[in-house]
Subunit: 142 residues, 2 copies
DNA sequence: TGTCTTAATAGAAACGATTTCTATTTAAAA
DNA sequence: TTTTAAATAGAAATCGTTTCTATTAAGACA
């Protein structure tokens, strides 16, 4: 789906600017998750004028539009990753080389099995958190 | 288990200082997750001299020792929560009132069911991420 | 109970990732 | 084209978090 970037951007009412497209291309050609600053460095090779805030803003917008995904990193810095897999799934991320692998199963136990058996990697930790509204707040907010 | 704080601290080779105990008490008496700054405000009611870095340091140490748990919040700020449940489980956190509820099942699908049926809350999003080392990095690092 | 060693702390300062602000530019609709 | 609202550059601010250094205190041991 995000193979046709212009269409995807139009769908989100985002203007097709060269910089927006470039950010998507950079993520597209990258097999690991990247920090805003790293993407900025790459952008500076392509544009004479390019501000870091522009990179931050675009990444946030694209993430908001579910074109790219935000990585929940233990160091609490921002990282982004472009994932072509459209179906619901989760990610295994390598803390060392930053590679991202889709995980199509959604149970943690089995997930860890999959990481051990299929990915042949090692699980150091995992984050599983459901965010939402509790009974009481649901009442208040509707 | 963390009912006997002094013992728990001793187990971790952490000295039993009044401030360390107070931080645990504050979290103990609180049913929601708290930010370091909020805990600091509470501490200032109990101590004439108390630095914010002390709060940060202690929270990190206690979290490192698995006495308290760190919340992975969408706003990427730090929050901590004291959970008495010793067995492996996950948390449902309310983004509105910050209440934390244990989730004893570990599969996301079933988890969302549980949130809807048992907690009678609403899932807005969830984070499921397995952190570790991929095949290649495992080779390098050992 | 006092002494000693090392961890813990206060307070100031630094840090640095992220965001805000304002004037300018540009995409793309009309 | 012309127009208009979105996008951008660049500087500056923000603020949660960490670092640094001198001082204090926990608790092991005599």
């Amino acid at each position: 789906m995000p193979n046709d970037f212009p269409l995807t951007l139009k769908r989100l009412n985002l203007k097709i600017t060269p910089k927006r497209v470039a950010i998507l291309e950079i993520l597209m050609n990258e097999s690991v998750y990247l920090s805003p600053e790293e993407i900025w460095k790459e952008m500076k090779k392509r544009f004479v004028k390019i501000g870091l805030p522009t990179v931050y803003r675009n990444l946030e917008e694209l993430s908001e539009g579910n074109i790219i995904s935000k990585v929940t990193h233990p160091n609490r810095q921002l990282y982004y990753y472009l994932c072509l897999n459209q179906s619901h799934h989760h990610h295994f991320i390598c803390l060392s080389c930053r590679r991202v692998e889709d995980i199509n199963f959604c149970g943690v136990k089995e997930l860890e099995e999959e990481v051990k058996k299929k990915i042949k990697g090692k699980v150091l930790s995992h984050v599983l958190q459901v965010n939402g509204l509790c009974k009481n707040c649901l009442k208040k907010t509707g």
